[in-house]
């Protein structure tokens, strides 16, 4: 028996179950304790697990990630939250130089089993730096895993898998869909394996690869064009490691692909997927792979964000270009 939960509730539920099953798991960050998180992702945990395991920290991202690395090396399983993914940059050195590399540097003597959570992406009319989607930075850094759920069920299962993982995971939560819909989420801990994509809609004409909050407008675009184009939608879920088999399989079936992401186009993860597909499956490729993405500009403030973010119409136009090539 499960419960109908939103994505952010599922995150909370996952944290709760992970903390209940393993005393070494702890949560730390700005406003995660008494306040329950600015998106309420940690609501109730402070009361349930106490201030030693749900820790309000000073306002210092490098300090949060850096001390979490020390805790992870000492055998705890810290789950730091950065309030918005746009505020991970002050901790960037700790993330790429340490979280990612402690295992390599010490040849396995020290490891860094931790999960760095952050709400990410646009679409909520937030102030500047609150709408970042720079997953490509972390995908480009060896030693990290990068997971981005797009449904409540996945959010809980992937989060638990990430917390149990022995490597550091960047866990980006699409805040636009934190409360967009509900889904049945099982009680108790369960895992959704990291590194496995999910086919969200089967189709034979064109494969569209996406993740996070873009999954829904992509599915909407697919429905809107269902009369004349049969679109397959693959939600990557984990961007590092990539589920190469899944994307290659879908692409070899359809011969055409589009990629949808919020991040700027240039050097985004869409570039990697395209490069991988032509490497593996050029002989199946029937049209250029179209990237429908954010533009190569800083994410705009609220008044223009709808123009920046791919939405069903833009996605449909992009898919059609590929299909009609």
């Amino acid at each position: 028996m499960g419960e109908n939960l939103t994505l952010v509730q599922a995150v909370r539920d996952g944290l709760r179950d992970a903390m209940a099953e393993d005393d070494d798991v702890l949560v730390l960050g700005e406003d995660v304790g008494k306040n329950g998180g600015v998106f309420r992702a940690t609501e109730g945990l402070y009361d349930e697990f106490g201030e030693e395991r749900v820790v309000d920290t000073p306002l210092a991202e490098s300090g949060i990630v850096g001390t979490a690395i020390g805790m992870a090396a000492y055998g705890l399983k810290p789950v730091p939250e950065i309030q918005f993914s746009g505020f991970m940059y002050p901790a960037f050195d700790q993330i790429v130089s340490h979280m990612a590399r402690l295992r390599t540097r010490s040849r396995g003597r020290f490891t860094c089993p931790m999960v760095l959570r952050a709400p990410f992406g646009g679409g909520i009319r937030a102030p500047e730096h609150h709408s970042e989607s720079k997953e490509a930075f972390y995908v480009h850094e060896p030693g990290l895993k990068v997971a981005i759920p797009s449904t409540p069920h996945d959010a809980k299962g992937m989060l638990i898998a990430a917390i149990r993982d022995s490597d550091p995971v960047i866990f980006l939560e699409p805040k636009k869909i934190y409360r967009a819909f509900r889904e049945e989420v099982p009680d108790g801990p369960y895992e959704v394996d990291l590194g496995e994509a999910a086919v969200r809609r089967e189709g034979g004409d064109v494969s569209v690869f996406t993740w996070g909050a873009m999954t829904r407008p992509t599915l909407e675009a697919a429905e809107n064009m269902a009369d004349d184009v049969d679109v397959e939608v693959v939600d990557l879920r984990t961007l590092s490691p990539l589920d190469e088999d899944a994307i290659v399989e879908s692409f070899e079936k359809t011969g055409r692909a589009a990629i949808v992401h919020e991040a700027p186009k240039t050097a985004g993860v869409g570039a990697e997927l395209t490069a991988t597909l032509q490497e593996e499956s050029l002989l199946h490729q029937e049209a250029p792979i179209k990237r429908v993405t954010g533009f190569d500009v800083p994410f705009p403030l609220a008044a223009l964000e709808d123009y920046y973010l791919p939405e069903p119409e833009r996605i449909e136009s992009g898919i059609r270009e590929t299909v009609e090539f």
Binding site: D31, G63, P90, E128, F295
Partner: protein, 360 residues
């Protein structure tokens, strides 16, 4: 802790009223009233969905207006996101503040001649900028400008606070670092932010002076800021130019309109601090010293009401910016790839129409 007025608006024993004439004192009061009224209206606009997330300042008018008024003509201000009143004193029209919180970058296009840097949201990241601005002025041999930088109590925990103040000490830049210690960083209380007894004492680490002032006493704030500004321009032999001011105050409202403070703090605490409200304090002082009477107060209230209403009307009349603006402002000239992206965007826009692209 430096104080000029006590909580009842009486002059503290031995304190002197800073060197402001009657008009200026009344202007200080008027600006604080204006800021308070603006704040109330902005919060209610947000509730009505007419502006986006908004960070209120009520309770902090004394610190903002007192310090901003201490700046001279050539001096610069580097704000955080909450200094709407300070920015107003410095010359930013209220309309622009509203436009910013309506999600329009044009709100941050500071008018030429207004020595105000743009709001940047990442906490403490503006502090090194302030040091750099002041350093540049010093390198240009200006020597007659001070650079005031605002940040919160929470900001003092960030690495950029440390690096920015340390550079200021080493390069002896004409800075005033003004910490609006409003007791809270969202839900994190001051005591959780650092084990240091005062925030002012953090200046010790950088070799320059730290001062604690009653931030809800606009006259005291004016005084310490004026002194810090003067020292920044012309320090005594052996003295370093920078100062860190900790203005002890309180945020009466929520952190932003997205925040619910009842989850993490007691109403009692709020009441305790409301007793120190800078506006009645200054009002009482001005009344008792015959600088202000009831008629003047009424006139000010009417004036303030009109000015806020005008700003709101002007902000709401401004159309949504053209999306081309976001393409045009990334670089001085638009790179080829971006031009191609803009072209594609315009073709999709033409095909589907704005209606389809804009969510409501």
């Amino acid at each position: 802790m430096v104080r000029v007025l006590d909580e009842d608006g009486e002059l503290v024993d031995g304190a002197e009223v800073p060197d402001l004439d009657d008009d200026e004192l009344v202007e200080m009061y008027r600006t604080m009233k204006l800021a308070r009224r603006f704040d109330e209206r902005a919060v209610s606009l947000q509730r009505q969905g007419r502006i986006g997330t908004y960070p209120p300042l009520s309770g902090q008018e004394g610190a903002q207006v007192g310090s901003a008024m201490a700046l001279g003509d050539g001096d610069w201000m580097v704000p955080s996101y909450r200094e709407h009143a300070a920015a107003l004193v410095q010359g930013l029209p209220l309309k622009q503040t509203l436009r910013l919180w309506m999600g329009d970058e044009n709100g941050s296009h500071i008018p030429e001649g207004v020595n105000l840097f743009t709001v940047a949201v990442p906490i403490a990241s503006q502090i090194p900028h302030a040091t750099g601005l002041a350093w540049a002025s010093k390198l240009k041999d200006e020597r007659d400008k001070a650079f005031l930088c605002y940040f919160g109590d929470g900001a003092t925990s960030e690495g950029d606070f440390h690096e920015g103040l340390n550079f200021a000490g080493v390069f002896d830049t004409p800075n005033v670092f003004f910490c609006n210690n409003n007791q809270w960083a969202i839900s994190v209380p001051r005591e959780r932010q650092t084990a240091s007894k005062t925030l002012a004492q953090k200046a010790e680490a950088y070799g320059f002076e730290g001062v604690q002032v009653d931030g809800m006493d606009p006259l005291a704030v004016y005084k310490v800021t004026e002194e810090a500004v003067a020292k920044a321009k012309d320090p005594d032999e052996g003295e370093l130019r920078p100062t860190m001011i900790e203005a002890v105050q309180y945020r009466f409202g929520a952190h932003t309109t997205a925040d619910d403070p009842s989850v993490y703090r007691e109403e009692e605490e709020v009441e305790k601090w409301k007793a120190k409200d800078p506006i009645p304090r200054l009002e009482t002082f001005l009344q008792r010293t015959d600088r202000l009477d009831d008629d003047a107060i009424t006139a000010i209230e009417e004036d303030v009401e009109d000015r806020v209403a005008d700003a709101i009307a002007a902000a709401e009349e401004t159309p949504r910016p053209d999306p081309v603006e976001m393409f045009r402002n990334a670089y001085a000239g638009m790179p080829q790839r971006l031009e191609e992206q803009l072209e594609w965007f315009e073709s999709v826009r033409a095909e589907h129409g704005d209606e389809a692209l804009l969510e409501d």
